[in-house]
């Protein structure tokens, strides 16, 4: 069989499947809707996580660690430590704030200038301001960095300046796990829906399958239209899911913008990126094909012609 001929066969099977779906528009739509919702849910969660990350991106990358050295540590040693901290691959920059500079700042900004003048000696220690690299700003990475500095004998206290950002990042991490679980569960759901739909279709076309096998149709030939039907269900469901998500974004865009404004941000809700849409449609097609294949493998073998 030449490639052109087999291509023609596939095209024929594809249009045959399309035609059958179009002949029962309501049933087809209901199935598509179930698939679409099952695909839209994890996709919506992904959208939420992406947006939450983007909206808080500025904070997350601005997490600093303040490393307070013990008061008896001399400036020269503090400078040494600054250089050592700089060597770490997860550290973007280290700023040394000497005790004198700290006191100076405090005098200027706190409004306690006169009271401080009464002090005989500077009570402040030298402080290192450590800014982690962006990719090391996750909760776990920050914790590791904090532990690292706490272990230094010269260090009195390590303070992560934005504890809430860490918490927020931790929540995001939980959400990302939830997202993975949701993708797996709803993926299985889509497989089940498509598999069951194909099973019903196989039952409904039993006579046709028997006759086809009788005149010498191979299993591959008999299976082909069902695989196309499964793929079309998956693709159609994914397109519908895309539409649902676009609608959600449209409905929420204004209220999210208002919310962001109240926090002094000009953040705008983002829709699905092109790669996400590609992943969604790809997942639909693959799940549809796979669900149909599993179902066809189970049910087609059992149908043998009886004369």
């Amino acid at each position: 069989m030449s490639l052109g001929v087999s291509g023609g066969r596939h095209l024929q099977a594809l249009f045959g499947s399309l035609g059958r779906l179009a002949r029962a528009p309501f049933a087809t739509f209901l199935t598509l809707l179930v698939i679409a919702l099952a695909l839209a849910l994890p996709a919506a969660l992904k959208l939420f996580v992406t947006n939450a990350q983007a909206a808080t991106g500025n904070f997350a990358s601005a997490v600093d660690l303040s490393v307070y050295l013990k008061t008896e540590v001399p400036l020269a040693k503090a400078q040494q430590l600054t250089q050592a901290a700089q060597q770490r691959p997860d550290v973007a920059s280290v700023t040394l704030i000497p005790a004198d500079k700290g006191l100076e700042d405090f005098r200027t900004y706190s409004g306690f200038g006169d009271a401080l003048a009464a002090l005989k000696e500077n009570p402040l220690p030298h402080v290192l301001h450590v800014r982690p690299k962006a990719q090391a700003s996750s909760a776990a990475a920050l914790e590791a960095l904090r532990n690292y500095f706490t272990a230094w004998p010269e260090v009195d206290l390590v303070q992560v300046d934005s504890e809430w950002v860490m918490r927020f990042n931790a929540i995001l991490e939980v959400l990302q796990r939830v997202l993975v679980i949701a993708v797996v569960l709803f993926g299985i759901g889509v497989l089940a829906v498509i598999g069951n739909t194909i099973r019903l279709e196989i039952q409904g076309r039993r006579a046709e399958i028997e006759v086809t096998k009788l005149v010498g149709g191979s299993n591959a030939f008999v299976r082909r239209p069902f695989l196309y039907t499964g793929m079309l269900y998956g693709l159609g469901g994914a397109l519908l899911a895309w539409g649902i998500l676009a609608m959600i974004v449209l409905l929420l865009r204004d209220s999210v913008a208002t919310l962001a404004r109240l926090y002094g941000s000009r953040y705008m809700l983002e829709g699905l990126a092109l790669t996400d849409v590609g992943a969604l449609l790809g997942a639909g097609v693959v799940l549809g094909w796979l669900g149909a294949w599993i179902s066809a493998a189970r049910h087609l073998q059992r149908i043998e012609p009886r004369a």
Binding site: M1, G8, R9, Q12, L214, G216, S218, R306, A307
Partner: protein
């Protein structure tokens, strides 16, 4: 073309449909397979089309021993056999054209060729011009002829028919049999299972008679004596 060598077939329910049956059918022969219903005619045809496998003995069709044939080779094997049924087994929701085209489609024939050969097959059975009709829009006799067109469209060397005239009146029956005869004339081996003795006598071809799963008589020329004996 076909060789049954001491073939027995016992079904799962314990009924022995064929016992120790042996016969040969040569290429280009036309053979009537007769006997009462339940005598084993259908089982013989099922064994030929590989819808069943023998319990004992060997069935050789088209030089292929059906016992040794792997499942994945069965489709190709069946493409070498045209089958006609009493209930014609047409797909009710497909037009005549699609029904007849099915054996060519499963064999992967190009669309152009399918178009040409389906028309040729319909022309042979006198149904040219009815391609777009659904089977139920045709008369019973026409439906049977669509079934025959489907069986011969891929020009198989072997044509088997199970009670093809069971639902037809005598005139239509004769017409259908003449059609089979015409295929024999162009070299096709034809096996027709029927209990219509009138037709068998009319055609005077070789008769294989079964009774209770056993071969009763296989006179090569004149079928009449055995007919009398088995009726």
């Amino acid at each position: 073309m076909i060789s049954f060598d001491r073939v027995s077939k016992r079904y799962a329910n314990g009924r022995e449909a064929l016992s120790n049956v042996s016969f040969n059918i040569h290429t280009g022969e036309m053979v009537f397979l007769t006997g009462r219903s339940g005598a084993g005619k259908s089982t013989v045809l099922k064994l030929i089309a590989l819808l069943e496998r023998p319990t004992r003995g060997a069935v050789v069709v088209n030089t292929k021993n059906t016992q040794a044939l792997r499942a994945r080779h069965i489709p190709a094997f069946r493409r070498g056999i045209g089958v006609v049924f009493q209930d014609h087994k047409l797909l009710a929701d497909r037009p005549v054209f699609d029904n007849v085209a099915l054996p060519l489609a499963v064999a992967g024939a190009p669309l152009k060729e399918i178009d040409k050969r389906v028309r040729a097959a319909l022309d042979q059975v006198g149904l040219l011009g009815k391609e777009r009709l659904l089977p139920q829009e045709l008369s019973v006799g026409e439906q049977q002829r669509v079934g025959i067109a489907r069986a011969v469209v891929s020009k198989p060397p072997l044509l088997i028919a199970d009670e093809p005239t069971g639902n037809l009146d005598p005139d239509l029956s004769l017409e259908v049999m003449r059609l089979f005869r015409r295929f024999q004339d162009v070299g096709v081996t034809v096996i027709v299972a029927t209990h219509d003795m009138h037709i068998v006598r009319e055609f005077g071809e070789r008769v294989i008679t079964l009774e209770n799963g056993m071969l009763q008589g296989d006179p090569p020329v004149d079928p009449l004596p055995s007919l009398v004996a088995t009726r």
